[in-house]
């Protein structure tokens, strides 16, 4: 019985540690590039997320979704798609995505802009949404964290 307890506590600890390590890796990307002069970094925490204007003030449904966002971070790089900076940046992002259990949600290309959306459920009401887009001149990496469902995200995009 005590062995079973030990094993279960070990599993819980390792799960917790793995989640912490994964969370740190996203943070590390923002930490790494936020001070880089080629990048524009935006950080908006909960309490300041009165982001109704981000997705259309009139829509009550969107406001409900936004209220569930705890944190939002954006990295923008104004550089050519094939530049070394862009390549290094996206290589780091892809490392994070491949090292953590992110699911690919959507992918689309339009007018030379290629966008991918990934999500990962951390716990019951905590989800990470990663959106990154590549274009010939501007590259974006967006991280939304909170109690956001895929359906709500789709609804927001459709608006």
């Amino acid at each position: 019985m005590s062995k079973l307890k030990d094993i279960s506590s070990l599993i819980i600890i390792s799960l917790f540690l793995s989640l912490t390590v994964q969370a740190q890796t996203i943070e590390k990307i923002f930490g790494k590039y936020s001070e880089n002069k080629s990048f524009r970094y935006v950080s908006i925490s909960k309490g300041m997320i009165n982001l109704a204007s981000l997705f259309g003030k009139e829509d009550a449904g969107n406001n409900a979704m936004i209220s569930r966002v705890d944190e939002m971070k954006v990295l923008t790089l104004k550089a050519k798609r094939k530049s070394n900076k862009t390549k290094a940046f996206f290589s780091d992002i892809e490392k994070v995505i491949s090292s953590a259990p992110f699911e690919s949600l959507m992918e689309a290309s339009e007018n030379g802009v290629h966008t991918k959306v990934y999500s990962r459920v951390i716990k019951k009401d905590k989800t990470d949404i990663l959106i990154f887009s590549k274009s010939d001149t501007v590259q974006h990496f967006i991280w939304l964290n909170g109690n956001i469902s895929v359906a709500e995200l789709q609804k927001m995009i459709k608006k």
Binding site: S34, E35, N36, K37, F39, R40, Y41, V42, S43, I44, S45, K46, G47, M48, L51, S53, L54, F55, M72, V74, T76, M106, A108, S109, E110, N111, V113, H114, T115, V117, I131, F132, S133, S135, V138, H140, I142, Q154, I157, K158
Partner: protein, 183 residues
């Protein structure tokens, strides 16, 4: 005699128990004046003090009421202290929780930090709009397909289902594939 002297020594040293004091008292009450006069007077005095009754009942009632009132006041004071402490703890906890929740919105551009909420929201808005634009367009182009939901069922299956419905036959899981086979 020696025993009683030992007991008295023990009494003055404050080491006697109730039983030993009772023995001393009994011994002294039987003694005539002489030795141990001090102890005899002391025990007689203590005995007399124990027999004092408050002769005035109203005084006793008042005293009791005052004591009860004081006790109630003490309870009230304690209750107030506890209530205020609980309220203060809650306020402190809420305050600390809010303090821990970082409330900030800022932009770092070319290594310079701007604590400007409007600028942060505008930048995030711009990035979000640009990033989700292809998704928006793709999803909009998928809208007309919604209307085609019914037409995705093969026509031969549609006909057979309609026929079965009209005949009210409850074999909905069995499809008439003969029309398809003839093709």
């Amino acid at each position: 005699m020696n025993d009683i002297n030992k007991l008295l020594d023990k009494y003055w040293a404050g080491e006697t128990n109730l039983e030993e004091e009772r023995i001393i008292k009994q011994y002294l009450s039987q003694q005539q004046l002489g030795a141990n006069n001090v102890e005899k007077d002391l025990f007689a005095g203590l005995d007399a003090a124990g027999k004092i009754h408050l002769s005035n009942p109203s005084f006793e009632t008042n005293l009791r009421t005052t004591l009860l009132h004081k006790e109630k006041q003490n309870h009230k004071r304690l209750f107030h202290i506890l209530t205020y402490s609980a309220a203060a703890s809650i306020i402190l906890a809420v305050g600390l929780f809010n303090m821990n929740q970082k409330r900030e919105a800022y932009v770092v551009e070319k290594g310079v930090r701007y604590d400007d909420m409007e600028k942060a929201i505008n930048c995030a808005d711009q990035a979000m709009s640009e990033a989700i634009a292809p998704l928006k367009q793709s999803m909009q182009s998928l809208q007309p397909i919604k209307g085609l939901e019914g037409s995705l069922t093969p026509s031969y299956k549609k006909n057979s289902l309609a026929k079965k419905d009209s005949e009210n036959i409850h074999t909905s899981n069995v499809y008439d594939d003969s029309a398809f086979n003839k093709r």
